[in-house]
Subunit: 442 residues, 2 copies
């Protein structure tokens, strides 16, 4: 039987559109109680026993026995050797991508991540001091879904922010090391790296053990155990968003070659069966042409089976009344990746309010952004772009308010603070302000 | 018996300093399993039943029966009436504070919260579009610890960010409304307000009900039920930090009048018994003088009992070898509030890496910052200043990466993306890049 990929065909004009559209979007982040309990046990064990517990779980889950956690640390020499051993093309590609990512995040730091201050009319100083985190942990998945590009996307913003120490953890089940991941760690300037994973690695980073230093924040994707562990240590350390399945939404006016768009839908679908690819266009013929290209191109791809499952189960080609309506629907979805595949992308961009990353114009395939355009590929999924942002320099910095009230300022502010503090029944607050008033102002 | 407040006296030179210091700092954020279960049930009920469940819990927990949730909505007229009925001094104080807070957050938006972009050598556009959240929820505690200043500190940054709709929830047990809170909601421009609280209010905001609109983010402090509920809905909506007990750390070189510093320690301690006030100074005599002022001033304060419990249980006066050592200890604590009570505050400020807010010089009492200096008083507690920041405009915005790759750029980026995608086994990613190569570049 021939493999077929038939994304659900919808039209915003049909009466059942809303129902069928909502069904297709539905994805539940419900947690599994058994996983939750096992993760709680793993965290408690690592918090109490440190290295010993991490070694025990690593042997149990990754089939890796080691006499001490030091044996599971990768040396800088090993990272460099992995890089040096790569074919020239891969070495250059990693370096090229790293340079682009670094320079984009430097621009971000300059635009949004610098300290600032001003003096008011009374000479009081007000502002914010922006400082890097001391030490962060980066979780890198091992096994099949080992993505060296994720190492760059997590470690480089931390570097640009000025983080003192970057600790990478990457599970290596049965000892299998992904040389591209090690090479990427070298290029990205990871400080230390341990071949541990799962909830035990998150616990080691959050609590610290005899060997693994405690970090201030943990970023990076992982499986359900890793996600649960990150959610549990949130508050003790910072974490990035908990990622759901990856999604792409393409708004097309019909001007982009249909095979380009078909391949863009594939490139999301090939991640996993739960990934979601949606195409919106006011041009029904164009949707037919994209479907034809899907049929033609699917057999050419090694991951055709995953792509077909993803597109059949979660994909959609939606005929809209207009590009404006397509933009409105996009805002309701708040997609992780949003391609504006149009020859007038700047006409539509201002209408788009919620998205992790917006790819403008036919030449901007999501895959260019995934690897080397410069912006981060760690993006808010599952509609969380309504309230959260791409990973970036800001995630590896924190801010401290700076306040220096002048004697003159204290006279004005003190009276107001006194009134408001009394109104809240906090008299010591009020008195602390009153004590700073000059004798003749009281 | 006379009430006494005796913060623990420590010296960094004594051999047991480290142990005793750690004991004093210890605070456990451990969650209560019973609360967790009850909150899970409340969230599930509100998610399924909507208004009906919120009404049931409001009757049960707040002793307020209402036939419909509309009855629990405060009208804009009611908020305005509360403001109009205030004494002049309070009205002006609220407006003065609001103006200062607004102008500080406008400066923050300008410095860190604007969209930016640049074109690279190939003419590709790279940047970030910064947009406000559509709708946010603000939790305001009711009853005794009802702080109108918190309404300003949560709502005004949202306003400055450009948030479309601000929904306030505030429990009013047995119908008792705090008129200052209502007035503050009017001054801060809250869009809608409901007299509901607890986990049921958080659930209503996160899931939406027939009457309460679903929001994108929930901020604001609350009790253990509120904190647990916020942690559970995190991911579906954004949340701010989960707050622990409030803390102040004062670094003093001995130049500030001792009664000013004693009152600053009080103004933290008066919040609740778990609040923590710590003074560090290289001048032992100064510590004695502050203790003498504590003894003298304590009886003058209505909240003397809470202050005494807090200082006796969690307070500390620490004799350090030097101001430099005091700064190092401060960095280990990462305090919420950090006063540099010195006549050369700018000498020490560069040494301070982790703090929610830094108050420079003798005139800058924490209480001025709490109410009206301008910066936010919602600050990271319990050492979370290591990785998080004051509430601000950035919390009410999100960023979308903007990428527009030129045809020329696509030729360079495409080759690199192809190599890296092949290395990760993601062939559709690679082909999406290859399709954009000009025929002569493939």
């Amino acid at each position: 039987m021939t493999l077929q990929a038939r994304p659900l065909r919808l039209s915003t004009q049909s009466p059942d559109f809303e129902t069928r559209f909502q069904q297709r979007l539905h994805w539940s982040a419900d947690t599994d109680a058994e996983i939750e309990n096992r993760v709680a046990d793993i965290l408690a064990a690592v918090q109490q026993e440190g290295d010993a517990a991490v070694l025990r779980f690593t042997e149990r889950f990754d089939g890796m026995a080691a006499p001490s956690l030091h044996e599971l640390e990768l040396t800088q020499a090993e990272l460099k050797a992995a890089f040096d051993a790569l074919p020239d093309a891969q070495r250059h590609a990693l370096e090229f991508a790293a340079a682009r990512i670094r320079s984009y995040h430097e621009a971000q730091k300059k635009a949004s991540g610098e300290s600032w201050s001003y003096r008011d009319a009374d000479g009081s100083l007000l502002g914010q001091k922006v400082t890097p985190l001391d030490r962060v942990g980066i979780y890198v998945p091992g096994g099949k879904a080992a993505y060296p590009s994720s190492v760059l996307m997590n470690a480089l913003p931390a570097h640009v922010a000025g983080v003192g120490e970057i600790i990478m953890v990457v599970p290596t089940p049965r000892g299998e090391k992904n040389q591209l991941v090690l090479a990427a760690a070298y290029v990205a300037g990871v400080s230390r790296a341990f071949t541990i994973g799962g909830a035990q690695a998150v616990a080691a980073l959050a609590y610290g053990t005899q060997t693994v230093p405690r970090v201030d924040k943990i970023t990076g994707p992982g499986n359900a155990y890793v996600a649960s562990a990150k959610k549990r240590v949130f508050g003790l350390v910072g974490i990035d968003m908990i990622a759901g399945p990856s999604e792409i939404l393409v708004l097309a006016d019909g001007s982009t070659p249909a095979d380009w768009v078909a391949m863009d839908l594939f490139s999301q679908a090939e991640h996993d069966e739960l990934a979601q690819s949606i195409l919106l266009s006011p041009d029904a013929d164009y949707l037919d042409r994209v479907q034809a290209e899907i049929d033609r191109l699917l057999p050419t791809l090694p991951r055709a089976e995953i792509i077909a499952k993803s597109l059949n189960g979660r994909g959609a080609l939606i005929h809209t009344r207009s590009m404006e309506e397509a933009c409105e629907i996009s805002n309701r979805i708040a997609p992780e990746h949003l391609e504006v595949s149009s020859n007038e992308p700047h006409r539509w961009e201002p209408l788009l309010r919620h998205a992790g990353a917006i790819f403008l114009g036919a030449y901007t395939s999501e895959s260019l952004g995934d690897y080397c355009a410069g912006p981060n590929h760690v993006l808010p999924t599952s509609g969380t772009a309504r309230f959260s942002s791409p990973l970036g320099v800001l995630d590896f910095q924190k801010r401290s308010s700076i306040i220096e009230v002048s004697r003159e300022g204290a006279q004005k502010l003190g009276k107001v603070a006194h009134i408001l503090a009394e109104g809240e029944g906090l008299q010591a607050h009020g008195q602390a302000a009153v004590l700073r008033l000059d004798a003749d102002s009281r």
